[in-house]
């Protein structure tokens, strides 16, 4: 005891894994005792599981302490490009917890869940009206599943038309990894469209690919605005080209926040698109999920949508399976809890507010671009949409990379932007401020970026190699984690 020196933690408390805090006999719930009875499992009852034994105060303290080791949008600026980390309204959370939504079973008789079906029907209508794509399915569980469902619709449409031989999908090199992964899952063959000097789909090469593969093309998957932060200015020509050979235009809606209420995707030739309700429509990211990835398609493709889909017959709502459905992609009815949150958000903003969302997101990104363009390399000319793309080219000459800039931002209290993506430029930094950040907060970020740039410029950047220093953990050893994977507490010595 005499040698005991307390750790100087202040408010930065540590907490051990619960298994290390386990004490024989502790339990965090009180359950009634069970009288002896004969089991009807046909087995002996399980002996040991190996779970921790802790009580409620321990559990609360453990998770509260853990939570304090996380950055969050509620606590600070989170400009992750193509991730749309916007404010998550608490009204959404309150509504999703109403017993009439949270406490209903997916197999209940439809007469007992008319309100839930009506809500889904309304959400379908919102998404259809915003995009001009009238066939909507809420079934997909997340963006990647929306992509899958969308590509299944395209596949099915070709098959039904006797065009099942179409195996080629054209995807830009700036696309999210989920695009090629999804197309491959569907059995398509991917042809990569290179980007041009403006960060757009190279139109000449696109034409060449279309001419080369012609009627073997199933479609193209294009993110618009793209991940270089640009609106594809040749989009009408691209859509016409793909349609000219009988292919479909799939739009990845990850960046829809830039154009919601400003551009109707149907007007620019989109046939199928997915939404990330957890991006554009403010449902929380929850440290990785749940998301929700509805899709909208042109009316003539609606018969191929995944099931279920909500229809209104008379004054009754019911689940229906589209005539030539591409099948089921998720169990039950999709991420209904996210549907409640997204509709709450849409009703709060209204058509007018959603348009402002896009405009403000675009203003804020361009403002950052204008303020940083003299200090960081801007790979593509012109203004941006709701995110701006910079690279580390200037800083690299002084020995510091995007990685170091990201870690320096952490030290200065900002969550880094998306780094090393898109892959079309070296050392990418993709910055998406969203419409929910005040000008003061954006200015603070700009000042920090300018400070980092100045320090590097003046030869004082070496310190950033060690950053972050003030975080619960310093730089972590990824190589060690991958080389000898320790994936459970049982493996932890």
């Amino acid at each position: 005891m005499q040698n005991f020196i307390p750790a100087q933690t202040g408010l930065n408390h540590e907490t051990e894994l619960l298994i290390k805090q386990s004490r024989e006999g502790a339990c965090g719930v009180d359950l009634p005792n069970v009288k002896e009875f004969k089991l009807k499992t046909g087995q002996n009852s399980r002996e040991k599981i190996g779970l921790a034994q802790v009580n409620e105060p321990q559990v609360i303290r453990h998770f509260v302490r853990l939570s304090r080791q996380n950055y969050s949008i509620d606590a600070g600026f989170y400009p992750l490009g193509s991730c749309t980390m916007k404010h998550n309204p608490r009204l959404n959370e309150k509504m999703a917890r109403l017993a009439g939504f949270a406490d209903i079973h997916p197999a209940q008789d439809e007469s007992t869940v008319q309100g839930a079906l009506e809500l889904m029907y309304n959400l379908q209508n919102w998404l259809g009206t915003l995009t001009g794509l009238k066939g909507v399915s809420l079934a997909p569980a997340a963006g990647a599943q929306g992509e899958l469902a969308g590509m299944l619709v395209i596949k099915k449409a070709h098959e039904v038309k006797g065009q099942g031989h179409r195996k080629i999908v054209l995807i830009p090199d700036s696309a999210h990894g989920t695009n090629p992964a999804t197309a491959a899952m569907c059995g398509f063959e991917i042809k990569v469209i290179p980007s041009d000097a403006d960060g757009l789909v190279d139109l000449d090469l696109f034409k060449k690919l279309v001419a080369e593969h012609g009627t073997n093309i199933a479609g193209t998957m294009i993110t618009n605005p793209n991940t270089c932060g640009k609106f594809e200015k040749n989009i009408i020509e691209i859509a016409d080209l793909i349609h000219s050979v009988g292919g479909y235009f799939y739009c990845d809606g990850a960046n829809y926040n830039a154009i919601v209420g400003k551009v109707r995707p149907a007007d620019i030739g989109v046939d199928v698109m997915h939404f990330n309700l957890h991006k554009t429509f403010s449902t929380p990211h929850g440290g990785g999920g749940p998301g929700s990835g509805p899709i909208a398609v042109r009316e003539e493709l609606a018969e191929f949508l995944p099931s279920p889909h909500v229809e209104k017959i008379g004054d009754k709502y019911k689940f229906a399976k589209p005539k030539n459905s591409c099948g089921k992609v998720k169990g039950f009815n999709g991420q209904f809890g996210m549907h409640v949150r997204a509709l709450t958000y849409m009703l709060s903003h209204g058509a007018d507010g959603l348009q402002k969302v896009a405009e403000d997101a675009v203003i804020s990104a361009n403002y950052i671009l204008a303020k940083l363009k003299n200090n960081f390399h801007v790979p593509f000319p012109g203004n941006c949409m709701h995110e701006c793309l910079l690279t580390d080219k200037i800083q690299k000459a002084k020995g510091l990379s995007t990685f170091d800039i990201a870690k320096a931002l952490i030290e200065f209290g900002i969550h880094p932007m998306t780094v090393f993506f898109p892959l079309v430029v070296q050392g990418a930094m993709l910055i998406e401020p969203t419409e929910t950040e005040t000008r003061e907060s954006i200015d603070n970020f700009i000042n920090i970026m300018l400070y980092i740039s100045k320090e590097i410029e003046e030869g004082n950047g070496d310190k950033f190699h060690q950053y972050p220093l003030s975080t619960p953990r310093k730089r972590l050893d990824d190589v060690r984690a991958a080389k000898t994977p320790v994936l459970t507490w049982s493996e932890l010595q």
Partner: protein, 425 residues
């Protein structure tokens, strides 16, 4: 509008700094005819909390919550009591409003939760490794079939050993079709994997040793799917399996009209590099302190693109957090006890219902769910129960699958028995 952070003055001065006169100038890449200058018509304009809340309340009122009367539905989605601490903790901003933990220095909270989630799933299933979660049991099973096809690359089909949740099978079919793989009943040399639901869709508990033997005879992987994870607090762990997947939403997550739920995915360690989804691993930081990171990323879409093991990106992070908190509260003692209580409730119901004339109980063994059969269509009987404010079981032809839990009261069971007896006799 309350969620917008810029004032009109901010917009003006920021546009001036950018060097344009109007926000529409920033949309110069959009052909003018397609740029909407006014809000889209046919949709309402913005509203305050009071108005929006009212609209949502109206929708909610038209639904009949499970807690508002006797309730016996299960079939892949189970209602249990969720301790108050769970919802309180998952609503903490730091869990609710953080992104996927790609920057580990400021995401140790989420990462430590995932690590404990993986540990708990592995203990429950008897597998060595688990991933950070999948969308739900159905997609988790579909992904496990694809994984079996990857590992046993010479084989082209998947077999099912017993009655698997039809919703899961629908989703599996969508995924298997893409690989030109069939889901068959026959277990033969063509099978990369054999799926066994434990307990099965009708509540029966299969003999897993027998399944293992059949898998070995044809060189197939054994895939166990569990749709009620609480059952693993009473039943033997499916250690014979190669892959154990399923649904974990019964703890911490709740019904949510079928989503969000919580898929889990666990397997033997030798297959870890074929797993879909995110995985968290332990490591050390620059000071040698224990910490966590996302690891084995070379399987995933953001690195491998079209060669990834799956296209999954977002998972069910917050649901996994809720599960981890609920399971931690239960702990070794509570988990087993809750499972036992669930079984006991089902046993009580079994005794009472099997005495009713016109009811035949089909199960010899079960966990918290079993199937009864009538001489007429079960849907019609269910409608009559509904008229008495009882939500009956899941109906398949003349069969009704009934689920029981710690929330089922003795009165609920007696009321169900009384009404069934009236309807049938």
């Amino acid at each position: 509008m309350r969620y917008l952070a810029l004032t009109e003055n901010d917009r003006k001065s920021m546009l001036a700094e950018i060097g344009v006169s109007s926000v529409n100038d920033l949309y110069d890449a959009v052909e003018n005819q397609f740029l909407l200058k006014n809000p889209i018509t046919g949709l309402p304009l913005h509203q305050g909390e009071i108005e929006v809340e009212k609209i949502l309340q109206e929708f909610a009122k038209k639904n009949r919550p499970a807690s508002s009367g006797p309730f016996f539905l299960g079939a892949g989605c189970y209602k249990h009591h969720i301790p108050s601490a769970v919802d309180h903790l998952i609503q903490r901003s730091e869990f609710l409003t953080s992104y996927t933990p790609y920057q580990p220095e400021i995401a140790q909270g989420t990462l430590a939760v995932i690590f404990q989630f993986q540990s708990i799933i592995s203990l429950l299933t008897g597998m060595q490794v688990s991933n950070a979660s999948m969308y739900d049991g159905a997609t988790s099973l579909a992904e496990s079939c694809l994984m079996a096809l990857r590992i046993k690359s010479g084989k082209k089909n998947i077999a099912k050993y017993n009655d698997v949740n039809p919703d899961y099978l629908d989703v599996c079919k969508t995924f298997l079709d893409l690989n030109s793989a069939k889901l068959q009943d026959k277990i033969d040399e063509d099978c990369a994997g054999v799926v066994v639901q434990y307990p099965d869709f009708y509540g029966n508990i299969p003999n897993l040793a027998e399944v293992r033997k059949k898998c070995d005879e044809v060189g197939a992987l054994m895939i166990v799917v569990v749709s009620e994870i609480l059952s693993l607090g009473l039943l033997e762990a499916p250690t014979q399996a190669d892959i154990v997947v399923g649904e974990a939403s019964s703890l911490g997550v709740g019904l949510n009209f079928g989503g969000p739920l919580l898929g889990f995915f666990s397997c033997k360690k030798e297959f870890v590099r074929q797993m879909p989804g995110r995985i968290c691993g332990a490591t050390i930081d620059a000071d040698g302190k224990l910490g966590f990171v996302l690891t084995l990323n070379a399987r995933e879409q953001h690195i491998r693109r079209e060669k990834a093991t799956s296209n999954i990106c977002s998972n069910q992070g917050l649901c996994a957090t809720a599960f981890t908190i609920h399971t931690s509260l239960l702990g070794e003692i509570g988990y087993k006890k809750l499972a036992l209580i669930n079984h006991q409730k089902a046993c009580e119901a079994y005794e009472i219902l099997s005495k009713i004339k016109g009811v035949k109980v089909l199960n010899e063994n079960f966990f918290n769910e079993f199937t009864i059969e009538f001489s007429k269509n079960a849907h019609e009987i269910n409608q009559k129960l509904l008229a008495k404010n009882i939500i009956g079981g899941y109906c398949v032809d003349n069969k009704m699958i009934l689920a029981f839990s710690e929330l089922t009261s003795e009165e609920d069971i007696k009321l169900l028995a009384k009404e069934l007896s009236t309807i049938l006799n």
